[in-house]
Amino acid sequence: MSLLAITAQRFDREIEDVFCATIKRLIYEAIKAADDPVAIELVCEQWQELLGEFRALERETLLPRQPSPDELRSHKVIYQQAISVAGLLGAAVRRAHKISWNLEANVRNSLKERMELLGRQVEIMVFEYNGWHGPRLTPAQIELAKKVLCVDV
């Protein structure tokens, strides 16, 4: 069952509200989880599911065609919040891992793996965010880039 409890066909205000409400709930649950490795892992699993749904929606609705300005605006807002919550979860897991030195090795390893995964996710999301919503090369810069990078014009 979808974490979002909605079958979205496009990035619009409704899906933005649902995504953002879910992200806010995850932030609340991450704070409430404090240093409990099991509780934090449960929040991270929900985050993983939400990220999967975000990627699927992006793949199915934005990539095959030119998205509208409104769709891009909603996509941008969700992306900003998604990067923020991944960073917050990464900080929570890092803290839990730091004070887990007296717990079983499998718990420590699990926290370490989750911490590294969140770090990679943030790196990729920031890169993708720049691709979607960062500044573009100007036409003059594109022409220069084609020459510098030996692109067949």
């Binding site: 095959p64 790196e123 720049n130 691709g131 960062g134 573009r136 220069l144």
Partner: protein, 58 residues
């Protein structure tokens, strides 16, 4: 194969962080080698290559 085609190939699987690191590394090295200048910021090149890749594959 041009630098541009190599970058396009590296971008082909952006979800794999090793590919992304290789891509960013290639863009960074090209910028260090003087391939880009003040008019061609590395982040802008990365964004442009991504958009070209999407145009070709989506």
């Amino acid at each position: 194969m041009s630098t541009f085609e190599q970058l396009l190939q590296l971008y082909a699987e952006p979800e794999k962080v090793a590919k992304l690191e290789a891509f960013n590394g290639a863009v960074y090295r090209a910028s260090q080698d003087g391939a880009f200048n003040d008019q061609l910021p590395a982040d802008g090149i990365a964004t442009w290559v991504k958009s070209v890749w999407q145009d070709r594959h989506c």
